[in-house]
Amino acid sequence: MTIKIHARLKSRKVMILCSIIIGMLILITLLAPWLAPHDPTLVNLAHKLKPPSWEYPLGTDHLGRCTLSRLLYAARMSLGYATLIFISALTIGLVVGTLSGYKGGWVDQLLMRICDGIMAFPSLLLVLGLVGIFGHGLKQVILALIFVQWVYYARIIRGMVLSLREQTYIAAARISGSSQWTIIRKHIIPNVLPPLAVMGALEMGWAIMDISAMSFLGLGVQPPTPEWGAMIHEGKSYIRSHPELMIYPGLMIMLVVVTFNLFGEALSERYGVKRNS
């Protein structure tokens, strides 16, 4: 018993800490133009590869751009696009999953076979393939990530809808004459959403990692736009003389991913939602 309470308190502490970090990250993304000491894309070759100073708190990169400003602006990219991917994939998954689970029959069969087809590939590899077929660039990467992500939400939501459909209160609603649409809107979706919020926290970390991996490969965010993965890509030519150019962005990615993972784990422990991956 004492162990359980102890664990709960610990997970509460973790949650509070993660909330603070996530809150700070959101603030950074919103306030980047005011927090950053310089324009992140301003090239100044006279100041290239400078060590940290009052003017450039983390030094400058090979084009004399302020590293700190670039790191702050990059947070905008990663968090913004990760959120976009999460919300889009969730929306598609919600529509498909609910339709599939509630309607059943051939609709369900067709939609689930499409999911099977997409899930037959390792997801990041399919993203790469899509980017190869449709051309590289940020837009394609984002669309490709949404394309492989919604499937997982659809699957999980379908499962939840299937079990919800059998609940007595749904049957009661049906008998008392509620329309299908009303049942889905009033009874099914509100029950499906909370566990998905937990999943979302876990997925955010992965989405951020995937975006930066794609940018690192040179396929996602294109220079000179600051993005953590792209910064690592640019910094690799200076690995011998200025390794810090690639260490900082990597630390940022790790901080964000660790935070979202811990937050998601703490949430799922608290609300008893199992991660399905």
Partner: protein, 314 residues
């Protein structure tokens, strides 16, 4: 049991057909015209006449379902067409780079097993001990560090600072160490966690108590029974992750300039060399699907209860 195996093997055919249908559909939606891409690569000025001729040669004037059937037949004969860039058969290009990638993959799987089996097993035996803390650290950070960054950290420390291993390239075993470790880290994270949880779960099982009451040596109980039972989820993890491992090789090969076919794939993406992309993606799907099947079969061998229980459910 034989029927079950055959059933499982037959069940992968429709999934693979779905995968080919999906790639076919996506490639068909692509704005790249194969005939035009071919001519550009071969430095032939595309005129309407030559284009029409090439289209006919590629069978692009035929109805879609015939095109699809043709592509499936070709794929089943390991004919993935010719690369737009090099004008050589894709399969030759890919297979010549395969051995480097397989070397890397094997190196990382061995590294992962060598680290995660002892750490996960000992961590599970002594919950809360020093090794348990190590295992938690590994499983948490291993899953959160971007592997491309971790690779560079290793380079900075072991190649630049200590000058122990070469920065990039292929050749001696020394070249293999850093890429393998980089690729192994996420696997180590996963396997350590799986094994630890499964050891803890198995120690509570009645058969352990029974073996103890029978007076069997603790070493024997743990080494022979618990380890064998506990390793089964790890085998699943290994199979489920072969696909991810393939994605991992792409990134690790980019970091260490490893001349495998992951790097070739990235080049193909930049050049929009669609036949190469198609080949790679389908191979990955095949590997993914087949490894899942093999894992199920191995598991059946490790834990025969599955075969008698699981048939109808699967």
């Amino acid at each position: 049991m034989g029927v079950y195996i055959i059933k499982r093997i037959l069940a992968i055919i429709p999934i693979f057909l779905l995968a080919t249908l999906l790639t076919f559909g996506l490639i068909h939606m692509s704005p790249v015209d194969p005939a035009e891409a071919y001519l550009t690569a071969a430095h032939i000025q595309p005129t309407d006449e030559i284009l029409a001729q090439k289209r006919q040669e590629f069978g692009l004037d035929q109805p879609l379902y015939i095109q699809y059937l043709n592509s499936v037949i070709k794929i089943s004969q390991a004919d993935f067409g010719t690369s737009y860039v090099s004008n050589k058969p894709v399969w030759d290009e890919v297979s010549s780079r395969m051995s480097a990638t397989i070397q890397l993959a094997l190196g990382s799987i061995l590294t992962a097993i060598a680290v995660s089996v002892p750490v996960g097993f000992l961590a599970g035996l002594k919950k809360g001990g020093g090794i348990d803390h190590l295992s938690r650290f590994l499983s948490f950070f291993g899953a959160s560090i971007p592997s491309f960054w971790f690779g560079y950290l290793l380079i900075i420390f072991f190649s630049v600072k200590l000058d122990l291993f070469p920065v990039e390239g292929i050749g001696t075993w020394k070249h293999l160490v850093l890429p393998s470790v980089t690729l192994a880290l996420p696997l180590i994270a996963l396997y350590t966690r799986l094994l630890r949880a499964s050891v803890i779960e198995n120690l509570d099982k009645p058969y352990v108590l029974f073996a103890r009451t029978r007076g069997l040596q603790e070493k024997l109980i743990l080494g022979k029974h618990v380890l064998r039972m506990a390793i089964s989820p790890m085998v699943t993890g290994l199979g489920m992750n072969l696909g991810k491992l393939m994605t991992g090789t792409i990134i690790v090969e980019a970091v260490f300039s490893w001349p495998g076919f992951g790097r070739y794939f990235i080049e193909a993406i930049f050049n929009r060399d669609v036949p190469v992309i198609q080949c790679y993606v389908l191979l990955a799907a095949a590997l993914f699907i087949i490894s899942n099947l093999v894992v199920d079969l191995i598991q059946m061998y490790i834990d025969p209860r599955i075969s008698s229980k699981g048939i109808t459910e699967r």
